[in-house]
Amino acid sequence: MTLYLLYKLKGLVTDRSGLFWGVAFTLFWVLMWAYVFTRVEEPLPPRDILEKMLRVSAALAYSYLGGLSMGSVAVGLAISAFASSSAVAFATRFTRLTPAKYLLEDFLAGVAAVVAYALACVAMVVAATYARFRVLALPENPPLLVAYLSLCGVLLYWLSRAVSLAMLALGKPRLPLLQMVPLILAFLNYATLWVDLAERVYALPLAPLLSLIVSAASGIEPATGGWLVGGWLWEALARGAAPKPPNTLSAPLALATTAAWAAALAALSLALARRVKGVPLEELVPS
């Protein structure tokens, strides 16, 4: 690991606003989820059914709340990319950080930061579920979960980069709404817990991935949305049956659309990068 990658990653995971939105704010909602929104009424179902229900509930929590956490990191990534634009322009010319090295190391640090915050969210949900129900709701397929979280990282990295470069291209150093786009997107995706977008979900970046995360973590079929409406999920689980979503998400199609979004955002970022220069430090508001 080079010093640039190490410090970039350290800066992202220790950033105060990132810690607030990505951990403290998320923890609040995790506790709300575990202690307020998750109601298990007497008589309790058999232990194995209860565990399955809690595993699905936890998977929904760390997928969709993790989406908010990852969106917050992406905002931090956008701000950091925006603030360091002049430094990068200079360093890639007059230090041994060549443009290719920079792109690779910055990308790796950004994706690693997103995954780190998402895993922190997974840990918080598992801990909160255990604290309330004494059930260890560990993910069903951890390697697949990490793979999907990494894909979220790739997508959000390029989204944050496109946002920061768009801010530079517009020549407006202070555009708070634009830099919040990743978090706004995460909130839109959060809404798909209640709204089933059917095949339109493929047009929304991130939403199909969050559904795949639920599936990888709980072992149930991925849905195109509407997890918490219609009773299809909880009623089937209570009967000990495998839930069948009204509209099943196609994993290959979801991965293909995610790849298309990431590629489009990467292409946009690279095109914008050729047009813009950095902004002086004094024009920036410290976060």
Binding site: K10, S84, P280
Partner: protein, 270 residues
């Protein structure tokens, strides 16, 4: 060596540099009032602003330079904000990337009154403006680059630290181009070459020792060291003239004060 030819920079629709040509080989001072384009010139040379014209560093066109260490260093603050980490970590990061000696940078900072402890506690943008300037100047000098651009390096330094920094600049083995609006440097660095910057144009080079004894007179004077046209009027710098001594102005910003003053006389200013 840095060469600029017919350099033009437009920022926000205004032409900030209006066809600047100069060769920086040795030790140079770019002396001019605030807003004269000094910092923009440095930003152009470091590749931070779009420009028209030609810029070469050590004979290589700027646009072709990639990943080249030991070629150029600067104290412009914005080039150091690579990662949001503590200032000390940033010092080590930049030293690693630019091939600078971190111990040398820390020793220089100590001389300028900035402790390692402070740098370990604060992020770069949390430092005061003066400390930030000392930090970037020390890193630029510790890089050992063949060309160093220093933007207002004496800003917010007390007199004793200014003297120490002057000593460091004199000892530096490489090309240094420093910009400032303070005229005392003419007496402190008499052997350096001076380019006067006014309203996006450079005049010179003129030896600092000669300018230290020069006076400002209104209008065009024959045999002047430089004749400078500004929006507020034209003036000449003459050796041993009767006008106000350049060094007495303390800062070149005062030239405009004199040019617009009602007490101007054709022979000079008193």
């Amino acid at each position: 060596m840095i060469t600029v030819e017919e350099l033009r920079v437009k920022l926000g629709g205004d032409e900030v540099l209006k066809g600047v040509s100069a060769v920086f080989l040795g030790k140079h001072i770019v002396l001019g009032p605030n807003g004269s384009g000094k910092t923009t010139l440095f930003r152009a040379i470091t590749g931070l602003v779009p420009y028209r014209g030609r810029i070469e560093v050590d004979g290589r066109p700027l646009k072709e330079i990639k990943g080249a260490t030991g070629v150029l260093a600067t104290n412009l603050a914005e080039v150091y904000y690579l990662a949001p980490v503590k200032a000390l970590e940033l010092l080590h990061l930049f030293s690693d990337l630019a091939g600078a000696d971190p111990l040398r940078a820390l020793a220089l900072l100590e001389e300028l009154g900035v402790s390692e402890r402070l740098l370990g506690k604060r992020r770069f943008w949390e430092l005061s403006a003066g400390t930030r300037k000392a930090f970037t100047t020390a890193l630029a000098l510790a890089s050992g680059a063949r060309n160093v651009l220093l933007d207002e390096p004496f800003e917010q330094l007390d007199p004793a630290k200014k003297v120490k920094l002057v000593g460091e600049l004199k000892r530096y083995n490489g090309v240094i181009t420093m910009n400032t609006h303070e005229t005392w440097v003419l007496e402190a660095l008499p052997e350096w070459e001076v380019h006067l910057a006014f309203e996006g144009r450079l005049y010179g080079p003129i030896p600092a020792g000669k300018l230290a004894g020069a006076a400002i007179v209104e209008g065009k004077s024959s045999g002047a060291l430089a004749v400078i046209e500004t929006r507020a009027g034209c003036f000449s710098l003459v050796e041993g003239g009767e006008g106000a001594a350049l060094t007495e102005l303390l800062t070149l910003d005062r030239v405009y004060e004199l040019l617009t003053s009602s007490s101007l006389g054709r022979g000079g200013w008193k």
